[in-house]
Amino acid sequence: MIGAWGVNMTYGKGALATPVLHDVSLTIDPGQLVLLTGPSGSGKTTLVSILAGLIRPTAGTVDVCGRRITAMTEGEIARVRRAHVGFVFQTDNLFPALTAIDNVAEVLALRGMSRVLARVRANDALVAVGLAERLDHRPGELSGGQRQRVSVARALAGAPSLLIGDEITSALDGTTALQIMHLVRTYITAHTAALIVTHDHRLERFADRIIAMEDGRIVSDTRREWS
């Protein structure tokens, strides 16, 4: 699902050069929910941005869903993301003017889906995250947890192979955080995977692997066996 080999990243040049990733390699297979942890400044966000194709590494190669994105143009990478990757962020980043169902459906429409089908799929996704009663509410009329559920629905409605999340529970209370992670966990099948950046140890119970980073390096990669 994801493969990264010898990834290095340095911001700036010359005397101002700041290396943030050092020879990072990892693979994530379908069926895995992987947590990426580490202290602030350890390189988690840079690594996930590279794996999502949002920034290019200084060196190294990255494959996403069987495609070598480090050899692609920006447009080609965008098409890979559009077709195969869903995103959930720390903040919901929903359009305040749109209702919950429109926030989900419009992203599906951007993927080329007909408006009618997009609304059907958006409806299903919101029902799946427990928001059947909030379809026509705007983000301002929803709680933080409900907004994050909408953003999970937005990410999953397009049936992506890979879900990338960044601190998706950090702004939520304990119960809501666990509910959100439960939604993510149930999405993982033999054909899908998730990579979640987090500081939240409560989430470890949902993970198949926990990769820890420090100073731009992977310092541990713990696989969890499900009984």
Binding site: S49, L54, R82, V85, F95, P96, L98, A109
Partner: protein
């Protein structure tokens, strides 16, 4: 993207109304200024256009219809001697004074002409008929000038002291005003000569209808052999007159400057609004970019908003301009709002909105998708 774009715009009502007001203001100013420009142009040349003719004969050195020497009676023989001239019609266009009942004196322009076939002079009559001016001592006056000339309403039959002679209102026109807003009084040529003290056959211009327009150059050259005469095509004379008033007087530049000011105000307000909306939604737009939205799709967010503002703002501005046109008509000003003026004005507004959107389009295209991870 159209739904995201327009709903985001409609959601921010304060910004929406500010931007719409800016576009409407700019559209109104552009349309009204352009309408006034063409209204002035029309006002300055309306009599020439209406009097018609292929060629106009006038005293040498004449630059415009409003200031011309009276031609000698012999000129009619000169022009009628041309074999290609089918009809030579006298046009009298002269300054005159009206003594008002209160004792004051006001300048007017006395106009008399034999209209071209099918083109009565004066036109646009509110009361009376052109033939009513054939009766002795009759003039036509515009409804907008009645108050200024202290002519009681109803005006028909009222006495006017014109050049120390008593004449009577035989007809009332509507909306025939000069560029300078000096009242036009229309009379029959024989009556105009009597009032102005001109002899038979005298006129300020001769409008010539040619048997064959192809012989215009020949006729012109032949008449211009006379050292005191010059000949102009009617369109050329219209252009000379309108250029003198609209361009030479600085009125055109003043109108253009006002329109430019409106455009600048509209440009700034719309540009500011679009940029502010883009800025406030940059995180959501970056999220769409992360999810694979292309630069073109993100640019559509701004462009749909710009298009919406242009369409609705222009419609409001157009309605406003029509309202103003009715208002200024009461003081005798003509604002021409015909198809070409409206299309041209709205085209300028569309370009203004497109220009105003450039900074925002540039911003969304260059959005850093990775910012959503920060």
């Amino acid at each position: 993207m159209i739904r995201i774009s327009l709903q985001s715009l409609l959601f921010e009502r304060g910004k929406l109304f500010a931007a719409l007001a800016g576009v409407a203001f700019a559209a109104n100013l552009v349309l009204v200024q352009a309408g006034l420009f063409f209204g002035f142009e029309h006002a300055s040349t309306a009599v020439i256009t209406r009097a018609g003719g292929d060629l106009w004969v006038m005293a040498r050195g004449t630059q415009l219809v409003d200031f011309a020497d009276v031609l000698s009676p012999g000129v009619q023989d000169v022009v009628r001697a041309e074999p290609c001239v089918e009809r030579a019609r006298p046009v009298i266009f002269s300054w005159a004074q009206v003594r008002k009942p209160s004792g004051g004196i006001d300048n007017v322009q006395l106009i008399a002409a034999e209209g071209a076939p099918g083109r009565a002079l004066p036109w646009s009559l509110d009361q009376g008929l052109p033939d009513d001016l054939r009766a002795p001592m009759r003039v036509a006056v515009d409804a907008a000038d009645l108050h200024r000339l202290e002519i009681p309403d109803p005006a028909i039959g009222q006495k006017v002291e014109l050049m120390d002679r008593s004449v009577y209102v035989g007809a009332v026109t509507h909306g025939i005003r000069s560029f300078t807003v000096v009242p036009y009084l229309f009379a029959d040529p024989r009556e105009a000569r009597r009032i102005l003290g001109l002899g038979d056959g005298q006129a300020t211009f001769w409008a010539l209808d040619l048997r064959d327009p192809g012989c215009a150059a020949e006729v012109r050259a032949s008449i211009e052999e006379h050292p005191d005469l010059q000949v102009r095509d009617r369109e050329e004379f219209e252009a000379m007159t309108s250029h003198y008033w609209v361009i030479g007087s600085g009125a055109g530049a003043t109108l253009a400057f006002a329109a430019l000011l409106g455009l600048i105000v509209g440009l700034v307000v719309v540009g500011q609004t679009l940029y502010s909306l883009t800025e406030s939604r940059s995180r959501e737009l970056a999220t769409l970019k992360t999810m694979g939205a292309s630069g073109r799709e993100l640019a559509a967010f701004v462009l749909w908003q710009a298009g919406f503002l242009a369409a609705i703002g222009s419609a409001v501005g157009l309605a406003w301009a029509f309202g103003l046109r009715m208002l200024v008509a009461k003081i005798g000003l003509t604002v021409v709002l015909d198809g070409p003026v409206i299309l041209g004005g709205l085209g300028v507004i569309a370009m203004m909105c497109a220009l105003a959107s450039l900074a925002s389009v540039r911003k969304v295209i260059r959005l850093e998708a990775a910012k959503v991870f920060k």
